[in-house]
């Protein structure tokens, strides 16, 4: 059966056009998430804008934005890599902040560390300037629905 998520994934895989996918996830579009393909891997990018600041004195990005961006990257990774027919449901999500986020663009790389019948475990690394300048590490469990 054709499904809007399957269709959005097909377009993303075939033409690297992620618009139909983000259209199904308005919050991803609201914060301004972009997806890139680097060495066959999907990488999430969040361009900087002043309204993402959480601490005006430092200034630093809002910690919630960093977390939300990373969790969204994990969800999009699952949608692109698996054959889910809806957005997987978050079970839990834990983030460790290593450095404040500079007022610059953010990148996130995700790895599906375990894929079970019902649950996926995803590890996410968030960095700025270079992949070895990690500002936050996170992991989450997500409930898959393709088996429903």
């Amino acid at each position: 059966m054709s499904n809007v998520f399957s269709e959005a994934r097909r377009i993303a895989r075939e033409s690297r056009n992620y618009e139909p996918l983000t259209a199904l996830m308005p919050y991803a579009r609201f914060i301004g998430v972009k997806l890139l393909e680097v060495d066959g891997q999907t990488r999430a990018l969040l361009p900087y804008r002043p309204s993402l600041i959480g601490n005006a004195q430092m200034p630093a990005l809002h910690g919630g934005v960093t977390a939300a961006f990373m969790e969204n990257a994990a969800l999009m990774q699952l949608l692109l890599q698996l054959d889910e027919t809806r957005v997987p449901k978050s079970i839990d999500f834990a983030i460790d902040y290593l450095k404040p986020g500079r007022p610059e663009e953010l990148y996130a790389d995700c790895r599906i560390s375990r894929l079970g019948q019902r649950v996926a475990h995803v590890s996410i690394s968030c960095w700025q300037r270079s992949p070895d300048q990690v500002i936050a590490l996170a992991r989450g469990h997500f409930l898959l629905t393709s088996t429903e």
């Binding site: 996830m25 308005p26 959480g54 809002h62 934005v65 969800l75 809806r86 839990d92 983030i95």
Partner: protein, 148 residues
């Protein structure tokens, strides 16, 4: 509520000085040393799945991160810089469209260096939370840089 100058300044800063809090339209419902209550009105932009009408977990994390930080500041007697060390979200049930989100956070343990916080998020009934959270914050005032 009768507010101390510290709490008055906190409310003023939260509502008007934090750019991302401003952009989202969060407001403070109640603020005390023991706990805080903040609210995020519903917007279609918060959705993470338009097909099923579910709010994105990322915006819930942003609300919790904001509320938990505010709870720490409200609990401390004097203004001081704080930094989130880690934050964990446990999603209890889906957050539904057309309903706003309420967050209550409590800084339940304060040590010279660390503050521990728990928080909950609900939509219509506080006894049926959509998410529970636990986080740890570092206080900066007492820190001495360690030379390594």
């Amino acid at each position: 509520m009768s507010l101390s100058p510290h709490h008055k300044a906190l409310i003023e800063r939260f509502m008007h000085v934090v750019p991302h809090v401003n952009e989202l339209g969060m407001s403070i419902v109640d603020l005390r040393a023991e706990s805080i209550h903040i609210r995020l009105p519903y917007r279609e932009e918060w959705l993470g799945d338009v097909v099923h009408g579910l709010i994105h977990p990322g915006i819930i994390t942003t609300l919790v991160d904001s509320g938990s930080g505010l709870a720490v500041l409200a609990r401390l007697e004097n203004p001081e810089p704080i930094a989130t060390l880690d934050l964990r979200m446990d999603y209890q049930r889906p957050a539904l469209k057309d309903l706003g989100l309420d967050c209550r956070a409590e800084a339940y343990r304060v040590t010279p260096h660390i503050v521990f916080v728990r928080a909950s998020v609900w939509q219509t009934d506080e006894s049926k939370p959509v998410a529970l959270s636990q986080s740890a914050f570092m206080r900066s005032s007492t820190s001495k840089k360690r030379v390594i």
